[in-house]
Structures are given as C-alpha cells and as structure tokens.
Amino acid sequence: MTTAADTSLDRSVMPPSERRTLLGWMRRNLFSDLLNSALTVVAAAVVFLVALLLLRWALTTAQWGVIPANFNLIMRGQYPAEEAWRLWLALYLLGGVIGLMWRLISGKFSTAALIVFLIPLALREVPLFSWMTRFHLLVVAGAGAGAFYLGAYLPIQRSVRAAVYVLLGYLVVMLVILRGYSGDAGPMPTVTTILWGGLLLSLLLAFFGITLSFPLGVALALGRQSKLPAIRIISVTYIEFIRGVPLISLLFMGQVMLQLFLPDGFPLVDRVLRALVAIILFSAAYTAENVRGGLQSISRGQYEAAQALGLSTYRTTMHIILPQALRAVIPVLVGQFISLFKDTTLVALVGLFDLLGIARTITANPDWLGTQQEVFVVVALLFWIFSYTMSYASRRIEQRLGVGER
C-alpha cells in the first residue's frame, strides 16, 4: 500500500480534471452511456417543443388585456375602492408586525430577513402597479425595517411567546380595520365580508385558517394521546370523522345546515365566517394527525425525565414534549398549511369570491369571453408563488433548526 504522501505526487491517481469543466459535467450527467444520451436527446426535444408552444401562446395568442382591466377585482374583489386605503393600512401594520416578530424571535438581521425585507421592494418592480401602489409598498418595507430596529429597545427580547401575542393582537386589529367599526358613516364604515374577495379573501382565509386551526389541532393531537379514555375517544372520533369526509361536504353543510343547528334568534354568522369555520374544523383534524406523528417520536425517557424533575403534566407538555414534537414535524405541518391555502379555493363553490371565484366571474363576463386560459393561468401562478414560497421557507427553517441532524 502506498501512503498518502506518495499518491499526492503521482499525477495518474489525481482526480480527472474534466470533473470541473462543463463538458465533463455534461458527459457525466447527460451522456454517460448510449441509453442516457438517447434519453437526453428525447427529453431536450420535448422540453424545447413545450417551451416553444407555451411561449408562442403567451406572446401571440394570449389576450393579456383581461388581467390589468380586472386587476383590482383579482386583488381585492368587491372591496370598495374608496376604502382600499384600509387594506394598505393593514399591510403597513403587517410589515411592522413581521419586523417586530423577527426581532422578538430571532433578534438577528440574517440573509432570510433581508429576503423578507426585499419582497415588498421587489414587488414594486411589477410593471402593472401604479405609482401609488409602489409608494404603499415602500411604506410597508419601511414599516418592517422600522419595527425591527425599534424592537431592539423593547424590554422583552428573544421571546416566542411575546411574538405570538403580537400576532394575535394583529389579527384582531386587522379584522377591525378591514371590517370597520363605525356603521355606515364615520371614518371607517363597515364593509361586509361578502364584499371581500380576490387574493385578499384567499390570503385572509388561509391566514386565519392556519392560525386558528393550529391550536385546535395540537389540542386534538394531545387528546388522542391522552391517558384519559373519554378525551381520547372524543378526539379519535372527531379526527377520523373529519378526515373521512371531503372538505366540500363540510363547506356545503356550513352553508345549508348551520342555521338549523343554531337557535332561531341567534345572529346568523355571515357566509365568509361559516366557510372559515368549516376550513378550520377540517384542517384541525389533519394538523392533529401530523402533530401526533411528532408526539409519537418523543421517547419515553423525555416524559420520565420530566416527571423525575417534578414537572406537572401541563409543564411537561408545554416545555418538554411539544417543543420537540412540533420541531420534528415542521415540514409536514407546512405541507398541511400549503394544502389548507390551496383548499381555500373550495369556497368559490359555495358562492364566495375568493381568487378562484373572482376568476370565474371574470371569465363569465361577456366583455371577457374566451379568456379562461389567461385568467386561470394567472390564478394558478399566484397560488403557486405563495405555496412555493411557503415550502421553500419551511426547508430553510428545517435546516436552521437542524431537524434530522440531531
């Protein structure tokens, strides 16, 4: 056997230099043998053809005029134009809340933070936007950065709990801003939820669906793992029932049957809220099953150690078990949130005007007949952008928390 010192001098056993050249890379990854070469050629031809067809459609056939003409509808549905400033106010606050939460959770201005900060600035480059929109986006970015820097002077730092409170507070404030409080007149007249639509409604449904179904799902998962038989049976029944039926049946049930279950004088909850309740109840069952996976991955030793330290059941769960269990299932949970976001499109079938519902009304409009391809492609892309961003972010978080490494 030769020693390492010997081989380093011997050029013949050095790695081949073609490893680093483009040609070498191609030979290894595209043309390693005859079969592979044939596959490459066929695949390249198919890709070329598809790209050509798509480009030709996008550049010549497609009538993109339908998008700018209905831009406001796509973005906010029937939300009155003179009240649109309230949406921007909510977005300013969102920017501020994200900045503040970043300060409270992470405390550092990392690359990821920079990317998040750059999102509103990048959006300003979308050619469709007016100068007002660009100004608003600038303020959003500014609010985020401002909140992040001012957050450093807060007495509380590095507290996830505080961040959660900030988020919950924001949910309430945002609802008040969007819905209004002063009746028909006054500074913020009421905008009934049925007027909310487009991307605004899709995002709101997803946002509230995720934040509200998550605690319910965790509670159900704990219930399913509980030692108390009554609680376990109730949780299992609920989870299995919900997982066994399609979401659309729950949504329809919410629209047709909810008033049957409520007393006569009960103020009838509005249609958007009914849909949201159905989404939350549905999603919670799936979240519960995902969280259960995490709970089952915690070894008995953790429970026993916590008990030995004299922690109560509540403290064991909150401080020992849940943090580990949730960390283990982040990717699955994000997957679940993505599918919740995608599932919000189903509200279009019960007469709400979310992104898909609005798209359907636009294509049904006699002025824009035959524009289904353009409109639905844009809708699909909008959904794709949000979903893909979420899954990308989850991969990043996964790496940072070191899931699967420890």
Binding site: G244, Q259, F261, K342, Q372, Q373, V377, F383, W384
Partner: protein, 394 residues
C-alpha cells in the same frame, strides 16, 4: 420512630392526578354532550317550525324527475331518488378507480425519473412535482374543463389521434368493444383464466417456499391469464367487435364518447395526484439504505434481482401507507366534480337531490356516511396490511 412511607402521603384532592383525570373527563363529556344536545334540540325545533316533517328516508322511493348526464347503469327521470344516488355513487367509483390506476402509473414514472442520474430527466420530474403540488386542484380542474376541453375545436374539425380518437368540444370519442352473443361465454372463460392463474401463482409460491428459489410469480400469473384469454378469443367467434368512431356530419358516430366533464375531471385528478405519488415513490426508494444494495450485489444478485427481491419489498413498506391515503384523497377530491358539472356522488346527492327535496339532514347523512365508510374501510384494510408487512423487531 415510625417511618412514613411515601405511599402514605396523599396529595390534596385538587392535586391528585386520578381525581383530576376523572374530573377533566367528566367536564369534557358534559360539554360535548351538552353541545350535541343543544344542536339537536335546535334542529328538532327548527325542523318542526319549517318543514313540519320529521327526519325520514322515505322520500328516496319517490320519482326523481331529473336527468343525469352520464350513468353506468340504466337511469331515466322516472326512476327513484335512491336510483339517482346509486348512479352518482357509481360515477364516483368510476372516476376514482380509473384515476387511481393512471395516477399510480404516471406517479411511478415521474418518481423514478426524479431519481434518474440523467440531469435533464430528473429536472423535468422536479419541475413537474414542484409545479403541480403547489397549485390548487380546483384551479387545475376548472382550467382543464374551461380552458382545455371547452376550447377544443368543433366536431367537424375534431383533432384526430391514432385509434382513431376524436377530440372535440363534445368530448372524446374512442373505439369501444361491442359485445356479441358469445361475450357472456367469454366472460366465464376469462373468470376461469383468473382462477387458473391464481392457482398457478399459489402453486409456484409454495414451490418457491420449498425450494428457496422464488420464481417470477406475477409474470406467470399474467401469462396464464393472457393465454386462457387468447385461447378463448380464438375458439369463440369474436366475443367483442371493435366499434370505431367515425365522423358523420356534425357528430361522431359509434365508438364511445367520453364526456368533456369526465375527461376534465379524470385528467385533472391524474395529473395532480401523480405529482404527490411521485414524491411518495421517490421517498420510498430513497429510504432503502445503500448498504442493502451493496449487500445484495455482494451476495451475487444481479441488478434486476436486487431491485425485485431487496429494494422493492423494502421500499414498498414505506410507500404503501402514504400511497393509500393518497388514493383516499383522490377519491374524496373527486367530489370537486361539482365544479365542472360531472354528476358524481356529491353533485347528484349534495346538490340536485338536496335542492329538490330540501332534505339536508338526510342527504348529508347519506353522503358523509358513504365517504366515511369508504375511508374507514380503506384504513382498516391498510392496518391489516401494515401489520402483515411490519418489520418484526426482536
């Protein structure tokens, strides 16, 4: 001095775990039962005020009085609601079973492509997976229905694919077998072929267990069935005649016409579900550790044997559970048919029948009961299967 034993110190009742446990359970049960009673009470009083009819399923025997676009069994508007419900159910089964078969095939292909060493192939698979996993199924379905199948040319200018298959805005016309008189005999022969194939498979399996050399059971099973089928085809005078669609004026004649709605629903479900199945297949194959492959090679197995006897059985253990739930998802997702006008279970029962009769509670009980029993049945079979293939540790 008297020793105090630890078990003698009892905590106060409000900190005693058993007391707390019982108290919590009673509380939860009271709240849940109370809520249930509250809802039930409201429903009963509400029903009494509105309909003055109690809950009853007798309306199912009444004449439905509406048409259904497509049906696998004989149906007309003079038939009963119960019959209409069954039509919807069968339509759901039809689309679900076909969807499962094709989505599995496409998903396996894309999942294997994803693992290809060929950069271009694996990139194409990645783009496919990342795209279709991140758009809503409903958008895809409506896109297929309104932006693809609706935009096909008129029948006179139909796109003709080899077969011949005619693609037009009236649907897809495909060649279809027409049974002749000997068809029923041929069916019996085919069934006999299946039995014979199963017997051969069983025999080979037993022999394989005895000798330790497993033959290619599935292959021999298929060969037996095909051989019997072929012999029957030769000896019987043409059990099926192939009816090819032809263009006649403004319509196609003959063959079978698959409706636009059906095709849109099926293709949407297949394309969407295949992306998820591909990820499951990829994860399954990757879950088999490299050592297994190396060990198999060291034992002298050739690559095909390694795949069949070592990699595949182990990958299957990881693949099957999520795959089943994906099948269930596809079945439940087929209820989105309502958006594109395909008369599946939910569209017929949850929309048409419900609107006509106003029987919300009965109809929703039936719909949810059907989906629920389907999914409980699947998860039961799943658990049985899981127990059989589970890794037995120590």
């Amino acid at each position: 001095m008297q020793e105090i034993h630890a078990s003698q110190i009892r905590p106060p009742f409000y900190r005693d775990e058993r007391v707390l446990g019982i108290f919590t359970q009673v509380l939860v049960v009271v709240v849940v039962v109370g809520l249930g009673l509250f809802f039930y009470n409201n429903m009963i009083t509400g029903l009494r005020e509105k309909h003055t009819v109690a809950i009853s399923f007798s309306f199912l025997g009444q004449v439905a009085g509406f048409d259904i676009g497509e049906s696998m069994i004989e149906y007309s508007r003079e038939r009963t609601y119960a019959r209409a419900f069954v039509v919807g159910l069968l339509n759901t089964f039809q689309v679900a079973i076909l969807g499962i078969i094709f989505a599995t095939a496409l998903g396996i292909v894309i999942g294997v492509m994803r693992l290809s060493t060929n950069f271009l192939i694996s990139r194409i698979a990645l783009i496919y997976i990342d795209f279709f996993r991140n758009i809503p199924l409903l958008v895809l379905l409506i896109f297929w229905a309104q932006a693809v199948f609706l935009k096909l040319p008129r029948v006179a200018e139909a796109i003709v694919l080899p077969g011949p298959i005619f693609l037009s805005n009236r649907g897809v016309a495909v060649p279809w077998g027409l049974p002749t008189e000997s068809w029923s005999t041929y069916q019996i022969i085919l069934a006999a072929g299946l039995v014979l194939g199963a017997a051969v498979a069983y025999f080979l399996r037993e022999q394989g267990k005895r000798t330790g050399r497993m033959p290619l059971i599935t292959l021999w099973f298929l060969v037996t069935v095909a051989a019997v089928g072929l012999i029957g085809w030769i000896f019987l005078p043409q059990p099926l005649t192939f009816d090819q669609p032809v263009l006649e004026g403004f319509n196609t004649q003959g063959g079978k016409i698959l409706s636009q709605q059906f095709m849109a629903l099926l293709s949407g479900l297949i394309i969407y579900t295949a992306a998820f199945i591909a990820e499951i297949v990829r994860a399954g194959i990757q879950s088999v550790s490299k050592g297994q492959r190396e060990a198999a090679t060291a034992l002298g197995l050739n690559p095909a044997q390694t795949l069949r006897l070592v990699i595949f059985p182990q990958a299957l253990r990881v693949i099957i559970p999520p795959l089943t739930s994906e099948y269930l998802n596809l079945t439940k997702n087929s209820s989105l048919a309502i958006a594109i006008g395909y008369p599946d279970l939910f569209a017929v029962a949850g929309n048409t029948i419900l609107n006509q009769t106003g029987r919300e509670i009965e109809m929703f009980t039936m719909i949810m009961g059907t989906y629920l029993s389907l999914s409980l049945l699947t998860s039961f079979l799943m658990n049985v299967y899981n127990r059989r293939i589970r890794l037995v540790e120590r």
